[in-house]
Point group: D2
Amino acid sequence: MSNNTPENRPAVDLEELKDRVSRAPLHRFLQLKVLELEAGRARLLLPFRTEILANETYIHGGVIATLIDVTGDWAVATLGGQPVPTVDMRVDYLRVARNGEDLTAVGEVIRQGKNLAVADVAVYNPHGQLVAIGRALYRTG
Amino acid sequence: MSNNTPENRPAVDLEELKDRVSRAPLHRFLQLKVLELEAGRARLLLPFRTEILANETYIHGGVIATLIDVTGDWAVATLGGQPVPTVDMRVDYLRVARNGEDLTAVGEVIRQGKNLAVADVAVYNPHGQLVAIGRALYRTG
Amino acid sequence: MSNNTPENRPAVDLEELKDRVSRAPLHRFLQLKVLELEAGRARLLLPFRTEILANETYIHGGVIATLIDVTGDWAVATLGGQPVPTVDMRVDYLRVARNGEDLTAVGEVIRQGKNLAVADVAVYNPHGQLVAIGRALYRTG
Amino acid sequence: MSNNTPENRPAVDLEELKDRVSRAPLHRFLQLKVLELEAGRARLLLPFRTEILANETYIHGGVIATLIDVTGDWAVATLGGQPVPTVDMRVDYLRVARNGEDLTAVGEVIRQGKNLAVADVAVYNPHGQLVAIGRALYRTG
């Protein structure tokens, strides 16, 4: 749904972008991994570790918000080549994420403009159920 | 601005609530500290540590979203006695938070209903400048 | 993506629901029309009239927000039988809606719970381009 | 809380801006009136009329969203001199607005940047109770 045709889009090295996710200290702590990148779309993995729990039962919502922010950012980065600053974000929590669950997030660019981009992100538990959805605005120029 | 008058509000042990913040594994990692609690209001500290950086220069927006979520939750908890699940949240990033900066968040309950509560949170850098604002909805019943 | 299986869902008279949209005085002013209803999904039409303009060129964003609110509500109503109160809503404006354009909105229930439902809405211009997207939370119980 | 000091801000004709609100056809239908303008702040009135009802009892949430959008916009316009496009908006409905109630909205600029501005808006009923709050992002450059 992007406006950017291949012609006016910069060449983006998706492999290099994939590797970059772990350069952020916070991403390293979270062990975030980019599973897939294609134009306008990113799929990330947040492997479970006990440090991300809110209590003995649930994964912390702040970690899910972080996963959404990063996944949307990486989806936008597939078009512009760089992660970009988040302007604002909405997160809706739909189902608790439980102790031990690896989470997968899929982000898609809804609108890519010269200055701003909007991305939607869906977070799934290992049963393929929606845990949370997010919508974020990024500054692209 | 709460609807809960002292009469219909449960007695809440603010000191106990203050200590509880560090029971969550994620809060322990973040070294979150409750500075102040009063009815409908919470003030929290996120001390800087290198693991929360997005890059060499900036603190990660996901950590700021986490701080907002928790601060709003603790503000709501001052009225009901317990942290409660977040339903949804909006975060607006207003100014970058820099490497080395301790962040302070102030949360206020805007509306406390039987089933739902809304809280506003403002995050400040050590110069007293607004870094981000958040608004979150919590399920109280 | 709803949790409500046909078994636990009340029988809903979709034809009656379709007609009800014009009972609201504001909907009558806007000449809102329900084009299609099915379980968890609604499609509405906002026909152009000059009174909804913000200036000579553009349709007012407040009218688009209204269309989003109502379309999400009607999508939720297909499952519960009744329009329900909106708790909160996010609207992202993606492209201006121009003088003379009829707008179509498609709403889908993302999560239907006992007490709360989340719906996503997309608004299109007559060229099939996205004008705005919205996400709203409704109180279902 | 604006960053714009009087020195770098354009001279804005607040009286002219006040009158402009009724030039929009939708504002004329809603009989919107600007009560007060000062740098970074606007106060608007939405007088009751039956056409804004959702049913016999309540004012329509879409009209309240419109009031929020316009009030935030006018608050931003006090700094830049012009109403500007809305990028996105969140509305939280806190209390129903009843048949017959005139609504007053107060908007404040939280952050005014070169390209983007954030405004907060609170909507009150004639008893001074909060009906809704909104937060919107505007494109200023």
